[in-house]
Symmetry: C2
Subunit: 403 residues, 2 copies
């Protein structure tokens, strides 16, 4: 079998992460090393850029620029929510054929893996030889097969820094605080808030993830208990928490619901869930100082909060994608396998094992219906890495003289 | 005149900042050097801790612990929103007399300066010799006399990092984005978002501060103009923006309004303003992808985002407070004077020049009704310091072959 020679196209789909450009640059720099890849193009705004022939020639970018882009959060090529159907894919091939593209690398979540799967199927049916590699990324950490997803560790580090800060804030000015974290189906990102607990009475005191049924009455009882014990209560909540009928708590609060082309309901970009939970606590428990924040887009694109392990792995999955396709002439999705504590290697898994479906937090990562376990902490800690140390005042109390 | 000998009390009031503990530790370490200060006590939760005789003995804290606390965001001693009246102050004196306290340092904003002023007046009337020094802090940067306030630079750095990130996010997935920033009366913090603009078409494209009347129709026209020009629009809005009748835009949207003991309306801890502005854009301009985030408590307590100049100055105002009171035996509020570009020195200003009133952005810092000026950038840049560099891809476009 001869070498497959032609151009490569790399694109980015779905929600950005802090390290998604590490993968892009991993592809670009690795592809530039191989003579059978004649040019490496970047498609602007994912598959929609292929359709529009909206390419930039990454072979002609400087290595300094590429390294700077690698350290820049959010998809440098732009992103898309388009989900190609058969007709869409026909148009993709027309463009790929015209440009002699033989290598397609798509960086994204399970929707992007699905896109890869459809494109690959269509390529096979059309008799067009095309290597298709899906490169994982998602702050939700909800892809199947892979141990974890590039983008998760950095977003988790943001969540830890945020909750460590608001816990200190809530310690200074006590009350009830609700922090709403991204996570449609999986609670991995919200669960990371557990690392904000340093001292035994630190928050978040309650952690609610979509994997557990959210019961309003139980929730209020827990908030009441914690507030009576500590005089304050910090709560971490996934945007995707669901009631016992399987309905997102969020949808029951919104009059009109927005869906994207993958059928996903809009959960982010609104403070409604946090406000509603805050109001509930205020009204039912008669607690005056109740505040809520929705971390929103900050957690996936904030400048400067990056996990080192996450950045390194995001780079490596990009490089491995090119290596698999060039050295082994195969299609698939790059997956991370944990080999030690902490070490990893990489493998390629068939596209259909990653497409569409999502992973949830396993039972062993949960504890009761409002906390996460030590097993989760052991899993997540190396992905997040170090975060800044901080201390409370340790000074002896002074004897009261008057009262 | 002999040296005034006795104990010192330091306390923290109002909203926490990322560097408020630098001032606390500045006071504690400096006070420990002077023999006439027999002990330095910390009052827990501001003046309310004095009333409750809730003191810790900072003379008995380790220097390592104090340095770790200095690097920890949010008020290490706890805070309060209490505003002492004459009766409250009588009780304060009773406690101060009983503990032989002769030096009182209060770290806070204009409400805390007001507290200092009342306590000082009462001390004078009661014939009790007491040095009272107010130490400035506020992320709002709205204190009179001082060039700027410790706490502002670090919060501004957070705002810049957040908007730089969401601008990149919005560049990847275009739409309209509204980011709501803290700032009740003054727009300094929201104005800092201007530093997120690196490339000429970067957001925030529109910046709304409380110093300018917010007109819904003009707002919609501007969003429409920017969206038509760039295909996207990033907007920075102060929580305290007001309509032409002087009413906060926020209050007209909330059914019940919460006030603290200083009469301040609750603006933070709810996503209502961002959601309302987002809905307005969605409905009136028929733009589908509209998102809003309310930065909330993250901007004043987030772990690890600190301006170096801000941290250093916060330490120094604490040290200077002790030095003024010990070497010069005077009362007042420590103020920062800008002497060069960039250098500062410190001065003491009478308490009544800082108490109660707030500073607004001067006319020269504003540009039109939805932007800030170069004069503001020149003022604010050294306070924020460096933030991470980032780049867009710089690669040539590829010629279309089909369309």
């Amino acid at each position: 079998m001869g070498k497959l020679e032609g151009k490569a196209v790399v694109a980015q789909g779905g929600g950005p992460t802090a390290v998604i450009n590490q993968s892009l640059v991993g592809v670009a720099l690795e592809a530039r090393k191989h003579s059978q890849i004649t040019h490496v193009y970047g498609a602007r705004h994912g598959v929609s850029g292929i359709l529009a022939e909206d390419f930039v020639d990454l072979s002609q970018a400087t290595s300094h620029n590429l390294e700077m882009v690698a350290a820049t959060p959010s998809s440098g090529l732009g992103s898309t929510r388009d989900k190609p159907n058969a007709e869409y894919c026909e148009k993709i091939f027309e463009v790929l054929r015209a440009h002699d593209v033989r290598y397609f690398y798509y960086i994204g979540g399970n929707d992007s893996a699905d896109t890869c799967h459809i494109v690959n199927d269509n390529a096979t049916k059309a008799g067009y030889e095309l290597r298709v590699i899906h490169i994982p990324k998602t702050i939700d950490n909800d892809l199947l097969v892979t141990d974890h997803c590039p983008g998760y560790g950095s977003a988790a580090k943001f969540v830890v820094s945020a909750f460590a800060g608001v816990n200190l804030d809530n310690y200074a000015l006590p009350g009830v605080y609700v922090g709403v974290v991204m996570g449609r189906h999986a609670g991995f990102l919200t669960a990371a808030s557990v690392f904000a607990r340093k001292y035994p009475d630190d928050g978040p005191h309650l952690i609610y993830v979509p994997e557990q049924v959210f019961d309003q009455d139980k929730f209020l009882a827990e908030v009441d208990r914690v507030y009576k014990q500590h005089g304050r209560c910090v709560i971490a909540v996934s945007e995707g928490i669901m009631d016992k009928s399987g309905q997102p708590v969020m949808t029951s609060l919104q009059s009109s619901v927005e869906r994207d082309s993958h059928g996903n309901v809009q959960l982010s970009g609104t403070g409604a869930l946090g406000d509603a939970l805050g109001d509930l606590v205020k009204k039912k428990l008669k607690i005056k100082r109740v505040r809520s924040d929705t971390f929103g887009y900050l957690q996936r694109s904030f400048l400067s909060v990056v996990s080192t392990a996450d950045a390194n792995e995001a780079r490596e999955v990009g490089e491995k994608a090119v290596q698999y396709s060039v050295w082994h002439n195969v299609d698939g999705s790059v997956a991370i396998r944990r080999t030690g504590d902490y070490s990893v290697d990489y493998m390629l898994t068939p596209l259909d094992t990653v497409a569409k479906a999502t992973k949830h937090m396993p039972e062993e990562f949960l504890q009761g219906d409002h906390d996460v376990s030590i097993a989760f902490k052991n899993y997540a800690r190396p992905l997040i890495g170090n975060f800044p140390h901080y201390e409370r005042l340790a000074a002896p109390g002074v004897k009261k003289l008057l009262r």
